[in-house]
Subunit: 467 residues, 2 copies
């Protein structure tokens, strides 16, 4: 660990001069919510030395300059809905929360660009777009609570990535405070840009290690007029997953293709206290199509329906969107209710290998006698496998989890996959990252980090270690 | 300039050991085509000390290691169709041509990924995709001759970026030889990836300054079944350009929206010896829509037609695609025939500011008594303004060009624009880059370059200077 300094009384005084007395917190009660993110487990909890809540980019820049000068770590943080402990101050220092920077700054209809501060909730961005007939296509499952700045920092994926890509594809530019406290705008309202390196795209997904995002330029598109959801139910996970490539080969590009395995369905059913269709033995594929022409969508749904029937579906239902999305989005919460401690894996593989991964997970679950619930953003090759602790004694869990993860990721990397499709590495997956990532790629990432953050004060100890 | 070494006899011998006698060229006749790209003008010509033509990635890695150890610059080069002199050895050393690495390695239909070597022509990539019913959506105007590696290195734009984005959006991964000669695969057949920094996207558009691309993973999509082209003709450039935002607001997303001004149309007409419609006073907007349903496309074309008529179009014709695209794609060649020396600007601005830029260009053309022909990828905000030397004496041209460019880019940056939408910076725009780019952003780019290429041997003197 680098030789960081502690936050001194003097530094607190300076912080208060910059943002005011009431925006600098040091009491444990107020800092508790900032001591963790959505990951459960005592070993991930760490209190910062102080939480600061600036109101604008200039204040952020002054705070970062102060931290950099004093060699105090600084951790940018959105809503704390992350699944990788990226926004927790594991090396001490300051948490900089963007929650007061929550304004929609500009709705530029002509250029179809929305300019927002980082602390705007994702759902507020979606709503603002929708109200004027546009679509903001980023849709992480946590959208009701997550901040857009966090979406950008983690390159959040979600439910519409099949058709529209992840957050990366929605970001045209960012305003950034660099680790040395300089303010810079990268990109902007430009649909194209070949003016030097793609810096905006380097910042997207860098998990707050290369600077603090203080403004985001988001791409909007026309709001599709119609959406239809199908729920196709299969007697085995292999049959459900096998459909995905077949659907994608039809020429139809659905807006989402979600898989839920039977264990996950039952767990959600228990959690919601609601009967779900074919929950005794069914595995789900939820397919949504969006467009402007009802007849076209109906045609697409019929084609998908027929294809599923030919491939052994138990049923294909025109889904009640409220009910089915509630079930899908409750997956994480339901698992947590079943087992407060669980490990949410975020495997990503080439789409064609999902079935192999699901099979491998089932095999390993048996081998280690651990329950694993799966959902997948199936057309993206992104599998959320929640490994449940349940009744396992903590020491067994702590011993077994790295063993099963090791086997999982050996397999995942052997089929061209990676550690994370959309949750990021943060603190939680750092050991796995250092073990499984290509060493040359890691060296390149470390070199970039050192180049842009010479004092290693910006969210240190995340993604990889520097020493 | 750094203290580079010259290519010695000893080094040539080693190069021949790696790739064979016949793949190392030093004769001026053979090297002439490698002494320039598509940019005309003596001052941009520079012969390398040798041209090397490796046949695979391992050979590339060995050559780069050798160059790095000997402090000899190395310049990766595709088909040499660039407009920024990025693939010319202005600091001496080696040109590494990828022309022998021209294999399509894998057509993975299930994952809709095409894996190719860098020396495959863009049109070959398009053709390979099309033959199996897929679309490769990159479509630079130079596609018949450009290599896919060059497209990736420059983040080539082109005619379909409105709907599908630039080359950046088509690239899922690259295999790269780093400036220190290490071979690494970044990304792969993954639709999503949150496993550390977005390294693939940093390499895209880095103009060969951060390594040599030896393999590319390209995203395919379903081939749309139908395409319709409209040619809308307006009595003024302002009227034509004013239509662009209106069309985009309808909710229709065309696959391309191209603008040609009257001067450009007449120049092309002369060049082709073919009468073009309304060439006496017309300004063109070419709008294409793609999709699977003829009735939907017809509906869209009718809506666009009506909208143009309401906004003063002289005519809206269902375009003869062969004729109209030939005219559009002949723009550069026609200008070159008119004036061997001309400066092809690649301005990019927020879409809403194109009309202002075109007006400014017209005003500056009059002020400096220089002819400027314009086409624009209008919905992308990307304007190609060809400033013609014609009969101007060379010393007047050389004196005036920087003056008019200075005024152009002062205006462009004042409206949120940048130097290059798709051609890149290379050697040609380096002075303008250092003058107009944000100094903090430039500092970040330089820091990354130094971090990844400590000896500054990989295509030095491009985009920015290091000293």
């Amino acid at each position: 660990m680098a030789n960081y300094n502690k936050v001194t009384q003097n530094m607190l005084r300076e912080l208060k001069e910059i943002i005011g007395e009431r925006s600098v917190w040091t009491s444990p009660e107020k800092m508790e919510p900032y001591s963790h993110d959505a990951v459960t487990g005592e070993k991930y909890v760490k209190y910062p030395e102080a939480v600061v809540l600036p109101g604008n980019a200039e204040q952020v820049a002054r705070i970062v300059k102060l931290a950099n000068r004093n060699l105090v770590p600084i951790v940018p943080r959105g809503a704390g809905t992350g699944y990788a402990c990226a926004a927790v101050a594991h090396e001490g220092g300051l948490i900089l929360s963007t929650e007061k920077m929550d304004r929609i700054l500009e709705f530029d209809e002509q250029n179809m660009v929305l300019v927002v501060e980082p602390g705007v909730r994702t759902s507020e961005v979606q709503k603002a777009a929708q109200e004027k007939g546009y679509l903001y296509a980023g849709e992480p499952s946590s959208g009701d609570s997550s901040f857009i700045g966090g979406n950008v920092a983690t390159n959040a994926g979600g439910l519409k990535a099949v058709k529209y890509g992840t957050t990366r594809q929605q970001v045209l530019g960012v305003q950034l405070v660099t680790p040395e406290g300089e303010l810079v705008t990268l990109g902007g309202k430009l649909k194209k840009d070949a003016t030097g390196y793609g810096m905006t795209q380097l910042i997207v997904g860098s998990e707050g290690t290369l600077g603090i995002i203080t403004k985001v330029y988001l791409r909007l598109m026309p709001q599709p007029q119609q959406v239809m959801d199908l729920l196709a139910i299969f007697p085995s996970s292999a049959a459900a997953i096998g459909m995905v490539a077949k659907i994608m080969q039809t020429g139809i590009t659905p807006v989402c293709v979600e898989f839920m395995d039977n264990r996950g369905i039952r767990c959600v059913e228990d959690f919601l206290g609601e009967k779900l269709p074919h929950s005794d033995n069914g595995h789900y594929l939820i397919v949504s199509v969006e467009g402007d022409h009802e007849t076209v969508l109906e045609e697409q749904c019929m084609a998908i329906d027929e294809l599923c029937a030919e491939n052994g579906s138990l049923a294909v239902l025109v889904a009640d969107p409220a009910k089915i999305w509630k079930a899908r989005k409750s997956f994480g919460e339901a698992n947590r209710a079943r087992s407060l401690i669980f490990s949410a894996e975020d495997i990503v593989v080439p789409m064609s290998r999902i079935a192999d991964v699901v099979e491998k997970l089932s095999e390993l679950g048996q081998k280690y006698n651990m329950t694993i619930h799966c959902v997948a953003h199936a057309a993206d090759g992104n599998i959320h496998a929640d490994i449940m602790k349940e009744e396992l004694p903590l020491e067994v869990w702590n011993r077994q989890l790295p063993l099963i993860q090791n086997e999982i990721y050996q397999f995942v990397y052997s089929v061209g996959g990676k550690l994370s499709g959309e949750h990021g590495i943060g603190y939680k997956r750092l050991e796995l990252m250092e073990k499984f990532a290509n060493p040359v790629e890691l060296k390149m990432m470390r070199a970039i980090k050192k180049a842009l953050d010479p004092n290693n004060i910006m969210n240190p100890g995340k993604i990889f270690r520097l020493e």
